[in-house]
Symmetry: C2
Subunit: 386 residues, 2 copies
Amino acid sequence: MRPVAIVGAGKTAFGALADRDLRSLAVESIAKCLKNANMEPSGVEAFYLGNFAGPEFIGQNHVAPYVAAAAGLAGIPATRFEAACASSGAAFFHAWTAVAAGAYDTVLVTGVEKMTSQPTPKVAEILAGAGDLAGEIRAGATFPALFAMIARRHMYEYGTTREQLAAVAVKNHDNGALNPEAHLRKRITIEQALAGKPVAEPLTVFDCSLVSDGAASVLITTLERARDLTARPIVVRGIAQTSDHVGLDRKETITTFPAVRRAGEKAYAMAGIGPRDVNVAELHDCFTIAEIIACEDLGFVSKSEGGPYAASGATARTGERPVNTSGGLKSKGHPVGATGVAQLCDLVTQLRGEAGERQVPGAATGLAQNLGGSGATCVVTILGVG
Amino acid sequence: MRPVAIVGAGKTAFGALADRDLRSLAVESIAKCLKNANMEPSGVEAFYLGNFAGPEFIGQNHVAPYVAAAAGLAGIPATRFEAACASSGAAFFHAWTAVAAGAYDTVLVTGVEKMTSQPTPKVAEILAGAGDLAGEIRAGATFPALFAMIARRHMYEYGTTREQLAAVAVKNHDNGALNPEAHLRKRITIEQALAGKPVAEPLTVFDCSLVSDGAASVLITTLERARDLTARPIVVRGIAQTSDHVGLDRKETITTFPAVRRAGEKAYAMAGIGPRDVNVAELHDCFTIAEIIACEDLGFVSKSEGGPYAASGATARTGERPVNTSGGLKSKGHPVGATGVAQLCDLVTQLRGEAGERQVPGAATGLAQNLGGSGATCVVTILGVG
């Protein structure tokens, strides 16, 4: 496999963007990405699009050629990838596979979702399609309910507290307040987080990520070619995609996600590094408990220590291992299909040293973890300065 | 790129299968395919699933790990590909890319759709998601209406007749009547086809493919490995995926599909053959006019000659170039996401000489054409005896 690098990144602002449709969001992120890479559309050999639920949110399916043609890319292979909230992580994994293996030299990967045109109960129903309808969802669970069960069990087994969950929310809001493209730029206190409106006990509204519109794109090519295109290519050092049962009732334990553990192990092995070598991470904080479990499953700390780790400040911008300096899904926003590629864009910004007030000094190795459902899909990507 | 071969194929019967759900259909086709290849699930390195609209037809999204875990494949990358009616063609194209380029040795590709649990108007609405909702669909078109316009224009430009359209239906029903796994095993006459209930003038119910449930799987590996696994590997000699504008109103002409022409040209070039070398073809007859246009766009005949060609008997089982010996989407059935891989299964049956009464004597080269929407996605695959 050949070394592959990101040579362009572009994102829309995330938010409840009433005047924007899916296609215009995707096209904006593509235009920004190609401009960032100084590349014409004609230089793109294939288009990989992550989108979770265009058909249900806005009625539009067949979204890849729908976007590609509007972006000046008609003709090339244009395909939609769906893996729940890891849809664009999966698109990126397959694009990386194709370039690394030599099938293409230059490929565009976009993630997009337009969610806010549906009322909240309908959004919850659409998101529940990422669970097992014949099992947990038929039994009445929504995703907040599933992650509430996970949080309860983590509290029971490891003594994790609501204050520790709240610490994740406070930190991510603190980061997001400094991100001009974040959906919700509002600092909160521990007291506010704890007093939040209950969604599914023990999770309050401050433990849950946002329903957002947005798009993100990255352009990848071989490292050899990347060196001609940019002075600072961002190299894919390790990457893995894994799967597991969709239904929470089919898992042996619910306080660890085997798909995350395996994806992390494989990505670390490919990169030849360990968790201690990660300088900055974007983790899939669809709920605060998910960030805590990800820190454990990815080996930043041992199982059981995720709660105290969150409360210790270790994952703050100034801590030993900053997590979600973008604001994360909690504050930056979570347009589901866009999230995987958006995480990569945020890491690129850090590794290029362009993160402004949020910059982690000397960040040279970044890790992104993109989760689908309650752990049925995971993509872990490790990026480094080329 | 390494030569790649199909070493296993498995399909469910197609039909309105009231007692079967999406997962059980997919798992059945996988079990048959792995048995056909004499392969254990543990030998599969990645899972590529084509599915058009699981979320809208049955409420289930995140379908790839949902199916994979039930088939004993949990752990490996499991991803859903969506490209309208070319969803599993696109999944196969990306799977081939990965194996040919050396990323994996052995990959499973499945296509599945469960459509008949929705009433017909809802099915039409879901299928319309493969068109451009901001344009043609908002203007009131459904897919039968779009292909009716295409047929009318083909008649106007080239003198194509309703009798020639009907000849496609009669032939495909004749083939499907001999296929024990076809949805509708019923011979029809030209008179019956012409007298069919109008759907969208000039198309009658006999010009339209079926709404079906079903699944199909193929296992691919390197040709080198295939030779150890089977005495008769079926080699992928040429393959291409292309894209175009989704909206019919965005195309310069509507009597030819540039995406089909380009995919055919690329696949022929890769295989080092021309249209005359094709012994048997499975073409995407979502409507009778689509088979006629495909025969032209793929170079079986010149533009304008598709209608007379269909009426001449050239594409019958005993003709010079048999098309849709399976019965095609018209008679075998069209579970949208399953169709691309099902076409490959049907060609494998022909190339292995296992097609019984429908066998084309000496068939050594087969071509499959899988179309998404009204020509926005096309995948052309050329298979040969290894």
